[in-house]
Amino acid sequence: MDLTVANLTVARGGIAVLEGVSFRLGSGRALVLRGPNGIGKTTLLRTLAGLQPAVAGEMSVPPESLAYAAHADGLKAVLTVEENLRFWASISGTQAAEAAMAAMNLQELRDRRAANLSAGQKRRLGLARILVTGRPIWVLDEPTVSLDAASVALFAGVVRAHLAAGGSALMATHIDLGLAEAEVLDLTPFKARRPAAGGRVGAFDEAFG
């Protein structure tokens, strides 16, 4: 269940933002992506999740193994915490809603509508959604946004348990999760060069030679 990326170039709005990205994520491992805002972390994660095509390079993602969590949590304000979670569990074909609520400390909120949750509680619910997918490779975009210190620690524990169970996690985050075992990949060196400096030109400009 390895996620491998070799010499990958990803583009946003038709313009390459990262090029030559290579890494390998084995089971039981965590990789944290770092880099300044706008470097292309989200673009890279969306490409890995299959939401947009890569411009060049190779990536091998084992089929049906990747769970993606974006900035937005995909929660419905008029549904309760439990309904939200059970929906995503049945979409993924798992029964893990109860366990996920326990893991993210959401049991007391189970009957509350998502509209009445605080930002941090919503985020916890969003992360619980990752648990109910039952998939081994987690791809998380800024998972700790708006979480308090206790919740960050709670989440770090959840990730650690996932790794111990043979899963893996790829995260774009600025906050130190306290995961000592996580490797860190700084994306700054992979910033795409400008075409003037020998970088890739967009498909349309390419044709102008």
């Binding site: 313009i15 075409p195 967009g202 498909a203 044709a207």
Partner: protein
Amino acid sequence: MSIWEYANPKKFMQTSAWLLPWVTGLAVACLVAGLIWGFFFTPDDFRQGSTVKIIYLHVPSAMMAINAWVMMLVTSLIWLIRRHHVSALASKAAAPVGLTFTVIALLTGAFWGQPMWGTWWAWDPRLTSFLILTLFYLGYIALWQAIEDPDTAADLTAVLCLVGSVFALLSRYAVLFWNQGLHQGASLSLDKEENVADVFWFPLLVCIAGFVLLFVALVLMRTRTEIRARRLQALLARERLA
């Protein structure tokens, strides 16, 4: 040497720059000759009088209104399958031209219908079909306008063009089912019995050739503009990013 070489914007710009004056000149020559011949050197129809002469504008523009959509369908397919940007931009360039021809066909039809049928507008199948075609063109153009990213816009409008073509055909038959109509039969068909008389025929052919050439000239011109605009957009986007 393959036709796909012209899908390269640079090659297209070179070739079209060379071609454009010739096509434009020929279009003007055909239109001037055909319209003067048609308007002043053909006899009045024994029933329709001189009103019949609007045929020289009406029939060619109606033909081109449909042909423009067919061209957009083909270029959209080429874009979806082979990802040639010129093809997508040619579809974009052709749509307003096709819309204009559709409107011309509707207006000249109204001017013709008023003395002949005693009404500017009737919900006749052909008229109705053209009205629906106008809506398809408007929707297509509006979708191009509404979407910012050029490749996304090209993809979505191509999908709309494909699905729209199927529904346009369906509408055509639905409209025929709905009302049998009073529009006369086709002015031109391979079955010679139904055709208009030769004296009207030949100037009409010249006018049709003129409209086809005019369409080609306009689409070439507009595609060139679109290519330049697209290139500019790409350069600006890259500047912003750097």
